[in-house]
Amino acid sequence: MTETSTAVVHGPKREGVPALEARRLTKHFPLTSLGERGRVVHAVEDVSLALPEKTVTAVVGESGSGKSTLARLLTGLIKPTSGELLLDGSPVGTSARERRAYTSDVHLVLQDPFSSLNAAHSVKYHIERPLKLHTKLRGAELEAKTVELLERVSLHPGTDFAAKFPHELSGGQRQRVAIARGLAVGPRVLLADEPVSMLDVSIRLGVLNLFDELRENENLAILYVTHDIASARYLADTIVVMYAGEVVESGPATQITDSPQHPYTQLLLSAAPDPSRGQAPVLRGKGSPPSLVTPPTGCRFHPRCPFAMPVCEERTPPPLPAGADQVAACWLLAPPTAEAASAG
């Protein structure tokens, strides 16, 4: 942690200033129950991430890897313990006004389509609220914009859908409404936390393809948080793999899945269902993720790692180059000199 000298910024490499950049975000949740005061959950540890426009960055990890916390940190819903956010290169302020301005640039689409819309309100209400908050549109213009947004997420005809209530919609339609609400603020950045994991298999691709279109047509920077590495590969430009609150590997999507360098990424890939795999998969590693209250020393993956070395237990590996635009935080990738130095 402390040894990470230079923060490597993960995310798609593009020219210019990224739409949203996170610098060394750390989040420790304090424990509140009796007898645990003073201890913290190390949910996100020193993550730097750049989200350039017109790109999709996938954050992949198991539950408890800190990927959802990272997405919420990026919305500003929760305050980081340390680190900062930069929107178009300038730091994001904390005043109520700046906070509100930020909400018009960054939106979050959540996992559960059955709870992301308020059953008490119509679809129209859901789309109009952000428009009223962040634009000057009123009256007929407001209605026209609402319909347009619904149709932009393929809910045709928009006027019909506007009048419906959430319980009249299918899961996929609800998720599209949630995305349309996100678009209504006119965001630069769309964060999606497991947006398809609760949808039927046959309609997941439709929603993923919608994200792909929005990246192109709306110049959006999209963060796609998922546990499904295959869908990350399908949609994203860059995959960032998180484990126990830390980024363990990042790089171009196909590169990560075709030649994973970090043992954890290899484990994830070996566990993922893959019908094209000829023989039964050999699981690379065992055990389950560690407690984030008392994370393992050194590399947090070392207790499960089939290649663990003494150094892994002692020191946190820095992100090391593992290919073109690919980095992995693993001592296996350390040049021999460094390893020798650490051994000596």
Partner: protein
């Protein structure tokens, strides 16, 4: 007196997300018609509300009217005096009509004030959380543990007479001892709603906290607010009638409780003057019943699972772990 249903609290605490919502355990379409309980309960309640509104106007006699007799014993009901008279020869039917107003007014007033209090406390505690929650929760728990009625007796009895007759003061005092039940249920439900994705989404689009509470959370609390309102009205009714019955409060306009107090202090039961105490007692019981039926209905709307299943629906007996088999032939036989 009724108590807030634990199943309701459980439903509030566990809005179990159904991964496979397909199996229609309870279809929405059947919800359109309100349960019979709501209809009956609503009708009873409406009847008494109308009585409270218009009864005093329709009463054949005023509260101070006395039957033209020098008799010192109560008269049994007759064709002209439907419910007979008390020992002072007041017309009990008129007293019943007139007394309905103050009785229901205070019950509903207490319910309304207590509901406002419980929404304010419960939703604040649930949504804001942290220290505010700790303090407000401890406060409501203490109020739950205190014997409200006894404290009311002590607080109200030494009040100056004008205050004792003031509906608002009485309603307020009753409300102060009864808001905690609703607050607890509302806090639990708010806590459950606070983490819902639509609340998070509202924060993400930049809604202000007060708007989130009022427009995102409160609409979804309405069934529980309604349930806790009815609960406190029942409670207020009981407490107010009790206070009148004990003679702690004696409203000048009279109430059902005052009638019972008169009957009690004149040993009406021992003397067999049933027409004196039976009508007000039944009236209180009926209002309570009507409200309780309404609350039953609301509970079933909040948690459709608890709906009372009709026995042998379609001749099929459902039993956990033994799915019934009804062959098509048998069903056709039914159709014929």
């Amino acid at each position: 007196m009724t108590s807030l249903d634990p199943a309701l609290a459980a439903a509030a605490a566990d809005p179990a997300p159904q991964l496979e919502p397909a199996a229609p355990r309870h279809s929405r379409t059947r919800r359109h018609r309100p349960p019979a309980k709501v209809l009956v309960g609503g009708a009873i309640t409406l009847f008494f509300v109308l009585m409270a509104l218009f009864g005093p106007l329709l009463a054949p006699h005023s509260a101070s009217w006395v039957a033209n007799t020098t008799n010192g014993t109560p008269q049994a009901p007759t064709g002209s005096l439907w419910l007979g008279t008390d020992n002072m020869q007041h017309d009990l039917f008129s007293l019943l009509l007139i007394g309905s107003r103050s009785t229901l007014l205070i019950a509903f007033l207490a319910g309304a004030i207590a509901t406002v209090l419980s929404v304010a406390v419960g939703v604040t505690a649930g949504y804001v959380g942290g220290v505010a929650d700790e303090i407000l929760s401890a406060l409501s728990n203490i109020f739950l543990a205190l014997p409200g009625l006894l404290i009311l007796m002590v607080i109200i009895s030494p009040l100056p007479v004008p205050d004792k007759g003031n509906s608002f003061v009485i309603g307020l005092v009753v409300a102060i001892t009864s808001w905690a039940y609703g607050a607890r249920a509302l806090r639990a439900q708010t806590l459950a709603l606070r983490g819902q994705d639509y609340v998070v989404s509202a924060r993400v689009i930049g809604e202000r906290r007060i708007r989130i509470i009022l427009f995102e959370i409160v609409p979804n609390l309405l069934p529980i607010v309604a349930a806790s309102f009815i609960f406190t009205v029942i409670y207020g009714l009981g407490v107010y009638v009790a206070l009148c019955y004990l003679g702690v409060v004696s409203p000048s306009s009279g109430s059902w409780g005052t009638m019972l107090q008169g009957a009690q202090s004149n040993s009406a039961i021992g003397n067999g003057w049933w027409w004196w105490y039976l009508p007000p007692a039944l009236a209180v019981a009926l209002v309570g019943l009507g409200l309780a039926l309404l609350n039953f209905g609301i509970d079933e709307i909040i948690n459709p699972r608890i709906r009372s299943a009709r026995t042998g629906r379609g001749g099929v007996k459902f039993q956990l772990g033994l799915t019934p088999v009804v062959r098509a032939a048998a069903r056709e036989g039914d159709a014929r």
